[in-house]
């Protein structure tokens, strides 16, 4: 990890903004679960208990009604702000919390819709309000309520969900913690009784739960990755690490790259990584070459790759520069078979690239 050279003003400004954003509000911590009953409420209350023991002023703003005995036991030792009513419907009493102004407020069920006539339509917007006045919040949310993952989840559960929280809300939380209990695998095997306890007993099959669990973990990994980048920006660290695979497919105007792009997509998916497709901008391109390149880019768009046009006199330098600044871990490249006399004397682009690619794997595809 290093910060090479003089920091540029752009970079300093981004750093400053990131720092401001970071310190302005109360702190938000979110417990993320993949289904009801994994123990989110319990973990939230257990953390509240420990914080109170350390002298923090913690209150409960909202809690799910059907609690397990363990949750109830913890709840009895907590200060609960009674629910208020809007139009006769019980809901979290934001006004009362603001008057009480605790250090920390617990908010169960982040995706809850407020009754009509409330200050905000959504509970997560209430939470933003609390944060803006400097009240820290510990909250819980279920995977199925994350707007961007909803369709994916519905395909598994076949249940339609209307109450949602945007993923950006999770990303901007100061801390996110996964509650990862496996779907009582032992029950199926008949050797040990169920590992999962809690309120939201579920009608989902172990298979469905396992699929949800994977999505929740990948969501959490994305949020953490986002936060890692934010951390690096905040601390003026310019180098990116490859915590996950980032594949760069180099396409050209000279050869059909459909197979290479398809393989890039498959590999990126298997690794749950990212896919980039790049090409070198050339002014002297012929119409035939242009159409080959366009076809390649069409393929890239079809598989949802991030497309980058690279400039530079030397293709190797341009590719390596991009790869280094984007944390690329694998470069895919086609092998051009016909070596010219020029290539034989001065080396081919592939050879240059392999020599330059420290820390990066180069995969050569048959032409």
């Amino acid at each position: 990890m290093s910060t090479k050279g003089r920091p540029d003003p752009e970079q300093l400004l981004r750093q400053l903004q990131a720092e401001e954003q970071y310190y302005r509000f109360g702190r938000l911590k979110i417990f993320l679960g993949y289904a009801g009953g994994v123990g989110k409420s319990f973990r939230m209350l257990d953390e509240a208990r420990r914080r109170r023991e350390r002298g923090e002023d913690v209150v409960v703003g909202a809690i799910q009604p059907k609690a397990s005995p363990e949750v109830d036991a913890l709840l009895q030792r907590m200060l609960v702000i009674p629910q208020g009513y809007v139009g006769g419907v019980p809901t979290m009493d934001v006004e009362a919390i603001l008057r009480r102004h605790p250090q920390v407020c617990l908010v169960d069920g982040l995706a809850y819709d407020n009754p009509p006539g409330s200050a905000h339509p959504k509970r997560w917007q209430d939470v933003e309000h609390l944060l803006s006045v400097g009240i820290s919040v510990i909250a819980t949310v279920n995977l199925q309520h994350i707007e961007e993952r909803r369709e994916q989840v519905e395909r598994i559960t076949h249940k339609h969900v209307t109450e949602t929280v945007p993923e950006s809300f999770l990303r901007n939380a100061d801390e996110i913690e996964i509650v990862d209990a496996p779907p009582d695998f032992c029950l199926q095997r008949g050797s040990i009784p169920s590992f999962v306890t809690g309120t939201g007993s579920t009608t989902l099959s172990p298979q469905q739960l396992s699929e949800l669990r994977e999505i929740a973990l990948l969501l959490a990994a994305d949020v953490v990755d986002y936060q890692l980048e934010a951390y690096l920006v905040r601390h003026g660290i310019q180098q990116l690490w490859g915590t996950h695979e980032r594949i760069l497919v180099c396409v050209s105007a000279y050869a059909d790259a459909a197979k290479m792009i398809a393989s890039g997509r498959r590999n990126a998916d298997r690794f749950h990584g990212e896919l980039f497709v790049s090409y070198i901008n050339r002014p002297d391109i012929t119409p035939e070459e242009r159409s080959v390149l366009e076809r390649n880019l069409e393929e890239a768009r079809a598989v949802n790759a991030r497309i980058e046009a690279l400039d530079g006199e030397d293709a190797t330098d341009a590719i390596m520069e991009f790869a280094r600044t984007h944390g690329i871990t694998q470069i895919f490249m086609a092998n051009r078979m016909n070596t010219s006399w020029w290539d034989r004397i001065f080396g081919r682009p592939l050879d240059h690239l392999v020599r330059a690619a420290e820390n990066i794997d180069v995969r050569v595809f048959p032409a």
Binding site: M1, D174, E175, I176, E177, I178, V179, D180, P182, F185, C186, R189, S191, I192, P193, F195, Q207, S210, E211, R213, E214, L217, L218, A220, A221, V224, D225, Q227, L228, Y231, L232, H235, I237, W241, T243, H244, S263, N267, F271, H272, Q330, N335, M337, T339, D343, R344, F346, G347, R348, D351, V354, A357, E358, N359, D361, V362, R363, V364, P366, A367
Partner: protein, 376 residues
């Protein structure tokens, strides 16, 4: 995931650093099981002087450690014999990656655990993501630390369940500063090295992704089992989206130290692609006997390392490494070749004579991956 119906189940609590709460959560589960009437014992438990953890172990039966003398000091290791005699339903064994003291029956604790599983005892255990063999180079890149106590990936893959024990890095650092994890001096030292926030964030992401991968792998196995049950012979209508990939990876082992990283990388890619993984070492007369001692030792070390990761390496005879490699690849329907990126000083002067170049040219219809050594 064993063929024998009597084999015990293995559950791993996976974390990304000391102090995230793996042992605590494992003991919590042990208590829950005990409350449900399951016969649970502590086979090995490492309190590290942590108050919460010690309190959590109370009320659970402990199997005393076996005393082993080594170089004048006495160490305590898991007493496998005693656990087998006691025959609990569930045994709690902390720190799966631990290396036993010389003189123990097995070199590694995970081998002890396998004995218990074979005897039908269910095991709960803990480990950190950095102990996974295939992540060794990546972890070294983030942290500057070469983790020595590693577990081959296939051992973790055999576990019935891997659960992530999560704690945000800031909370872990707070714990560290409050002296919950280590003594104050050790905590200070730790924060200057391993426990830097950026390092922890990266390790945590690695652990989450690894857990997601473990979940994914287990789904594939389930899918396959289901397909087999529902008479998956009619492949035309019943092709699983997770069907085993037709990929096959071949790794070229040499005496060069880069072979270790190459093997790790090749195996990891193979695991993710659910591909078959082969390895070869190519020698002029196809025998390890007629080469220099240093070279032989290095090659044998790398071949053993490959075996340790469940890759069976072959030794081939050939004057021309590139030709022999590609011939073998073609006859074994290999789709990807993995070779190490040559060291800078070993680049050929004349272009086109280097191994990489020749392999790429010969393997015209096979993909070739040139793996760079990871540097910091």
């Amino acid at each position: 995931m064993s063929d024998s119906p009597h084999r015990g189940t293995l559950k791993i609590f996976l974390g990304y650093a000391a102090g995230v709460g793996k042992t605590y959560q494992m003991l919590d589960e042990a208590h829950k099981l005990k409350d449900e009437g399951v016969d649970v014992v502590l086979g090995y438990f490492e309190p590290h002087g942590r108050k919460d953890t010690i309190a959590k172990a109370e009320g659970l039966e402990v199997i005393p450690r076996r005393k082993i003398e080594y170089r004048g000091a006495v160490f305590g290791e898991t007493d496998v014999e005693a656990i087998l005699r006691r025959r609990p339903q569930v045994c709690v064994i902390d720190e799966f990656a631990h290396t036993n003291i010389p003189g123990s029956e097995h070199a590694k604790r995970w081998q002890d655990v396998h004995v218990l599983l074979d005897a039908g005892i269910n095991v709960l255990t803990t480990m950190n993501v950095q102990h996974l063999e295939s992540l060794n180079d990546q972890v070294w890149q983030f942290t500057g630390i070469r983790v020595r106590e590693t577990i081959p990936d296939w051992v973790v893959k055999q576990a019935d369940e891997v659960v992530m024990v999560d704690l945000p890095p800031q909370a872990l650092l707070n714990r560290l500063m409050r002296g919950v994890v280590y003594t104050p001096e050790k905590a200070q030292q730790a924060m200057e090295n391993f426990f830097k926030e950026s390092t922890l964030v990266a390790l945590r992401e690695l652990a989450i992704r690894q857990t997601a991968h473990e979940v994914d792998v287990r789904q594939s196995v389930q899918d396959e089992a289901q397909a087999a049950e529902t008479g998956g012979e009619d492949l035309g209508s019943n092709v699983s989206p997770r069907a085993r990939s037709p990929e096959c990876i071949l790794i070229l082992i040499t005496e060069d130290p880069s072979s270790a990283a190459l093997i790790r990388r090749g195996k990891r890619v193979a695991d993710y692609l659910q591909a078959e993984c082969l390895a070869v070492c190519i020698l002029r007369d196809g025998s390890l006997q007629n080469i220099a001692v240093a070279q032989r030792e290095a090659v044998e070390k790398h071949m053993n390392f490959a075996r340790n990761l469940h890759i069976e390496p072959s030794v081939l005879r050939g004057d021309d490494v590139a030709e022999t490699l590609v011939d073998f690849a073609r006859s074994h329907k290999v789709t990807q070749l993995f070779i190490a990126r040559p060291q800078q000083k070993k680049w050929p002067l004349a272009f086109g004579r280097g191994l990489v170049e020749r392999v790429v040219r010969l393997a015209h219809d096979i993909q070739v991956t040139i793996v760079a050594e990871r540097r910091r």
